[in-house]
């Protein structure tokens, strides 16, 4: 049901991009363009598994949050049986918006226009003037809210509006191995600390998604203050060390930064490390114990970062973990949700300390976050200029770098961590979606 027609100019651009990526060339124009945005809505966000919510945001029966897939408002709810379901936030009668708040708890939704009533799981159960108006001639079972297919992995709820989409397990394609560093911090897994930061930015979502697919290269410069004042446990001279891993043709990627000499599991409390020896596999433990920074993304637009932080330079401090969604709302414009994930089984003190570290670094007022968006709005602005339409960027870093054959995790791994390898895979996967024929 794809309706977007591709203009000859865009078709040529995408064709050239296809030729260019293996040699490390990506056109600037994709990072701020109306036609690209339209095509993404239709062929990417309407086909992929898109992140909706974390299960711990809706722990009780009736809890719901309102989120998006492409430009569709979606109600994600834990129904009266405890099952998670998602429905389009649109009354089937004449299309009124059902939920006008971002989150809440309800057993039923009642439309404020003509009063149709739905169970929170979407079934239509109440129609005013059913006898007098419809003479009983409305099959209520046919007019429930429009269902959205959902699946979960380790607390993450994803939805897709493509009935033909492969199942989530296949879609993630082994990336679950790496997601566990964020989602299995101990036997009880991870939970959201509270509602997310939520803001808008004049930024193209792809710039953020690329950055969080393992851009260790920007860190010593964009976040130089952190190195300068000692808040970032790495140094410019060794910062390139670690691994970059991607899942070929799936787009998912992670950068695993390593600081030589850093003790195993630096910044995690002991009890949690003990639990991780049960919640994680030996291969995961081998990689994660050495990891200082894990910055990764589920294609297309859900990202994570885990990182130790201490106000006393040199001390282990705590590991804070953020999960963020870069949601496009126009070319070069996005809506942003940013959560802090804490280990469910950690002490309250540890959770609070991790949350404080999050707000100081990567919340909306976070000292690291601020600098990222300042750069990203400038990239977006430049990419939308007319001369940029003929400009390409070099993605040649690590072009000849061999795959690590003995790396214990799945996917395509290379070392050091500073490389464009993940991004070439990201943009070729993105291109696969945009150019896929129906």
């Amino acid at each position: 049901m794809s309706t977007t027609t591709i203009s000859p100019g865009l078709r040529q651009l995408l064709g050239e991009m296809r030729e260019g990526i293996p040699g490390g060339r990506v056109p600037a124009r994709i990072f701020n363009d109306q036609e690209i945005f339209d095509l993404e809505q239709d062929k990417l966000f309407s086909k992929a598994w898109c992140f909706l919510a974390h299960e711990t945001e809706i722990p009780k029966k009736g809890d719901y949050v309102v989120r998006y897939i492409a430009n569709n408002s979606i109600i994600v709810v834990r129904d009266e049986h405890g099952n998670i379901t998602a429905n389009l936030n649109m009354c089937r009668h004449r299309g009124n918006m059902m939920c006008k708040s971002e989150m809440g708890n309800a057993s039923h939704f009642r439309c404020s226009y003509h009063g149709w009533v739905y169970k929170n799981s979407g079934e239509l159960i109440g129609v005013p003037m059913f006898k007098e108006g419809y003479e009983g001639q409305l099959d209520r079972s046919q007019w429930g809210l429009v269902k959205v297919r959902t699946e979960t992995y380790a607390g993450l709820i994803f939805g897709t509006i493509d009935p033909q989409a492969p199942d989530l397990e296949d879609y993630l394609g082994g990336f679950q191995f790496y997601l566990d560093i964020y989602l299995k911090q101990g036997l009880g897994g991870s939970e959201v600390h509270g509602p997310p930061d939520h803001w808008v930015a004049e930024t193209d979502w792809k710039i953020c998604a690329e950055n969080f697919s393992g851009d260790g290269y920007h860190t010593p410069v964009a976040h130089q203050f952190g190195f300068h004042l000692g808040y970032f446990p790495s140094s410019g001279s060794t910062h390139s060390e670690g691994w970059a891993v991607n899942i070929p043709n799936k787009g998912h990627a992670i950068g695993l930064g390593h600081t030589p000499g850093m003790p195993a599991f630096f910044g995690y409390p002991d009890e949690l490390v003990e639990q991780m020896h049960q919640s994680l596999s030996p291969e995961q433990l081998e990689i994660f114990s050495k990891t200082r920074t894990a910055v990764g993304s589920v294609f297309p637009n859900l990202s994570f970062l885990i990182q130790p932080f201490s106000l006393d330079p040199g001390e282990p401090g705590v590991r804070f973990c953020t999960m963020r969604l870069w949601h496009p709302i126009g070319p070069g414009r996005m809506e942003m949700w940013s959560w802090c994930l804490v280990p469910t089984d950690a002490s309250e003190e540890y959770k609070e300390a991790a949350y404080k570290a999050y707000t100081l670094t990567f919340g909306q007022a976070g000292t690291f976050e601020q600098d990222d968006f300042e750069n990203w709005i400038k990239v977006t602005r430049a990419a939308g200029s007319t001369m940029a339409r003929d400009v390409e960027f070099p993605y040649v870093m690590g072009l000849e770098r061999p795959k690590l054959e003995d790396f214990p995790g799945p996917g395509h791994a290379v070392s050091p961590y500073v490389t464009d390898t993940n991004f070439r895979n990201l943009w070729s996967t993105w291109l696969d979606y945009l150019t896929r024929e129906e």
């Binding site: 989150m103 509602p195 930061d197 939520h198 803001w199 106000l311 100081l360 919340g363 000292t367």
Partner: protein
């Protein structure tokens, strides 16, 4: 809260108002070290996350999510950062103007501390961008008498937008 509040003497009220105006002037003039001296050693600086909820919900300002969740120590980290050459989000610096109005001063349990309600509108202009960021907030501060002057013990500011219309919060409210 009723419409009639306990009286605080005029001199105290005027003195606190003056203090808050000088505090925001330090921000607008980017004298961040001076600004820090407005805070007590045990100060808290909080901006809760606002969530759009149904009317009559238990809360709309999250009880546990914060945009700022700072102590004097972490405020000083932010100021130290601004003093480096690498605070890119403030390079060039934002031009801010704090408009503080509707100031109400109320007594607290402690004779030397007062609760101060105010409305705060912050206009921020960056670089050559013609669209400013506007932050509208209600503040509920607690200030403590300190010799002849005042210290902020608690700055609490609730933004009126649930989806904040700014690419970052690199400024202070």
């Amino acid at each position: 809260m009723t419409l009639q509040a306990a009286e605080v003497d005029r001199e105290t009220r005027e003195s606190i108002k003056d203090f808050l105006y000088r505090e925001s002037l330090a921000l607008d003039e980017q004298r961040f070290r001076d600004w820090l001296t407005a805070f007590a050693e045990d100060a808290r600086y909080e901006i809760p996350v606002r969530v759009t909820r149904e009317k009559l919900s238990e809360w709309e300002l999250s009880p546990n999510s914060r945009i700022f969740d700072d102590t004097k120590e972490t405020l000083e980290v932010r100021v130290k950062r601004l003093e480096t050459d690498f605070a890119w989000s403030e390079q060039p610096a934002s031009r801010t103007r704090h408009f503080i109005t509707n100031i109400l001063v109320e007594p607290t349990e402690r004779a030397d501390e007062f609760r101060v309600l105010s409305n705060c509108l912050v206009y921020r202009s960056r670089g050559d961008e013609t669209t400013p960021s506007l932050f509208s907030a209600q503040r509920r501060d607690v200030v403590r008498r300190d010799g002849g002057g005042w210290l902020i013990v608690h700055r609490w500011a609730a933004l009126d937008q649930a989806v904040v219309n700014a690419h970052n919060m690199s400024i202070f409210i």
